[in-house]
Structures are given as structure tokens and as C-alpha cells.
Symmetry: C3
Subunit: 159 residues, 3 copies
Amino acid sequence: MEKKHLNILLFSGDYDKCLAAFILANGAAGMGVTVTIFCAFWGLLILRDPNKMDNDTKDLFEKMFSSFTPAGAEQLPLSKMNLAGVGKTMLLNMMDDKQTPHLQDFLEGAQKKGVKFCACKLSMEIMGFKAEELLSGIEVVDVNNYLQDALQANAQFFI
Amino acid sequence: MEKKHLNILLFSGDYDKCLAAFILANGAAGMGVTVTIFCAFWGLLILRDPNKMDNDTKDLFEKMFSSFTPAGAEQLPLSKMNLAGVGKTMLLNMMDDKQTPHLQDFLEGAQKKGVKFCACKLSMEIMGFKAEELLSGIEVVDVNNYLQDALQANAQFFI
Amino acid sequence: MEKKHLNILLFSGDYDKCLAAFILANGAAGMGVTVTIFCAFWGLLILRDPNKMDNDTKDLFEKMFSSFTPAGAEQLPLSKMNLAGVGKTMLLNMMDDKQTPHLQDFLEGAQKKGVKFCACKLSMEIMGFKAEELLSGIEVVDVNNYLQDALQANAQFFI
């Protein structure tokens, strides 16, 4: 059977939506499907390494933006019922009760399973993020590279 | 002509987004297209039967979660301009003026037209929902079952 | 090589999500891909021409709805961190610093590149928008027309 191919454009920076994206990505990779995740706009927040933040070379807006936005998977808020963090704590407790891994675990699992992560070049430029501030192993690509991958995939999701 | 196949992952629990999903599903089913809707996370709320709520076997977080979230199609809020319900009332009034069916009608129409509804097993576990609390005719499946369906569909939507 | 085909269902009326949709549409059109954008619900707001608003033939709800919603690309809010407009101003400043075009520019670019724009007939009726209030060159089509296009495309996005 021909190898299947799943393409995910991760636009959202919400904990629950990113969780859905990574559950799909890990599930597909486990089935032998080729998976690409292209992170753009708020989806870039998940790729920021909290230990590699570098504000020295940023201008004022970039510094403000960088400081006001979450860095890394576990800092992301919920898309609804976040209730200043209470809803997220409740969800995480419910996940723990069922031994469900957290977002950070799914992200690391995806990397181990060979899911390919790309960061959107244009979004990086607009938001003032540098490649050195990201987790290791992330390729920065432009929208044309992304589209070439997406248009030949068996399924595409905009999340 | 080969029978076409539409796959919808309903993640959202917003009235307007669910309405869009069901208008697509009903339209496609009416054209002879095979349609699968896989409800995950907030999308599960639409499958809850308000007459079958069972909090007796739930733990504390599950009970709180079950009580704070809407049950059934017509209780869902709008994704924007909800304005504590005023915006939704306005939208429903505008829909009534044009004799547009409500979400609950579209849901029942989809079931009559043979649209297949699935509930995400992992989301059910995390949120503490039981299969007996759902509308009848809903199959509970895992992400791998979902992906097999999605990867062979002609179109997939993440809504 | 067979001509590729991208289909976008633009449901969202958020500045950042519409920007993502148009960056994809312009990128694809520039690669010779056939692109259709079907605007439904909040996505219709982007197609309203601020100079062609006509409230005379609207009923009360339609007038209220028309007045409370943004008209045209540049009036749209952000999906998150909008902060009553401050977040959007910051984003626009950051875009200007990198000479990134605004949403309105991308929209006009897409029209020049031959991207096909359609407006959802049912959404137009519900919201009380008239075809004469839209930008020129927009075709009003129903969901079946849309689905026929989507089901034969190489990739579909619900944004």
C-alpha cells in the first residue's frame, strides 16, 4: 500500500487545539503515515524554547510581543473555559486522572516518531522570533514550501 | 462516478461553527456523498443528550465539568458576538425570519440522511462522559479509526 | 503536470485568520494553483464594501447586525490578544516594520492573481447582506456549488 501523508497547518496557540493536533500527528505517525506540521502565527508559540529566549536583538514591539505571549507548549491557554487558568488546571487534573500525557509529552513523542516540524518564515519575521529561540530540529520554510507539501498530502488540517 | 467521501472533525462547541459543519454535512449527504463526523473535545457537547445526564458515577472534576458545559445542540454559545446570549438570540431570530432550521434540526436531518456520527474515545475519557449519556446511534472510536476514514476521504475539515 | 486546486472555506472574521487564508491563497495562485475562496458566516465581513452599505431595505435585526459587525478587511479584530484594538495596532506596526502587506493588500493581490471569490448564499440571507453591498466580482453560490468545488480540490481548508 502506498504510504499515506498527513499535513497539519498549526495556526492556533490554544492548549486544547494544539493537543488535538498532536494527538492526530502521533496517531498517524504510529500508523506509518508521513506527518508534517507547519507552525504559523500563534502556532509558533509552541515551538519556542523557554530556555532560549533572546530579547537583546529585538526592537520595542518585538520585545513586548515576546514577553506578552506564552513560550512553550505547557504555557498555552485553553481556547474556551480558560477562566484565567482555572479551566486549564481542571482539564490537566482530569487528564492526569486518566494518565493522559500532557501537550509537552505529545510534542516530544511526535519528534521521536519522526514527525517533521516546520516554522513559517513570514510569521517568524512579523513576530520577531529568531530561529535560535526555537526548539532544536525545526526547519524554517516559506509558504510555497508548505503548499507543495500540503497539495500532495492525503489530508490537510488547518488547526 | 465514484462515490465521494467527506470527513469532518468537529472539535468546536460553538453554535455557529457546528451549524456550518452540519450545513456542509447535510448538503453533502443530499448530493449522495458519504459523510462521517468525528466529534472530539468541545464537539462532544453537541452529542450529549440533555435527558440522559448521569453524574452519579462521576468524580468531582467530571461533575464540575459536566455541569459547567452545555449539553445538546441548542445550548451551545456563539464563537463571537455571543454577548451573554443576546447575539445568539439575535442570530436565531434572523434565522427564523428566513425559515432557516436550527442546529438541532440540522443534526436530526443529518442522522436521517445517514451521516455517520462518531465520538472520540480519548476525549470521552478525559471529560468523563459516558457512552450512555450521548444521543443514540453514536459510535465511540479511537483516533486511529478516525484517521483511517479521514485519510481516504476526498475532503477533510477540522472545524 | 496536472494543475493543482486549492479550496478555502473562510468562516472566520478575524484579521489574523483571514491574513493566513490570503497568504495561502496568494502563495498558491503565484505557483499556478487554481484557488477558490468560499466566504461564509463571519468570513462574509471581509467581502463587505464599506462604501456600499445599504440599510434602507433591512429589517430591525438586519440593521443592528449590519451596524455591530465590521465591514471590510481592515476593520476585522484579532482572534486573540486583540485587547480592544491595542494588540492589532501592535501587530500592524510589526508588519509595517517588515514591509509586510496588510490584509486589504493581500485581498486585492488575490483578486489580481485570479483567485475566485464566492459568498455563501445561505449566510447572506441569514445575515441580511445584499449582493450589492459586496466588493465587485463576488459570485453568490449555494453550499452544493461549494461542495462540488471542494470535493475535487487537492486540498481544502476550513479557516
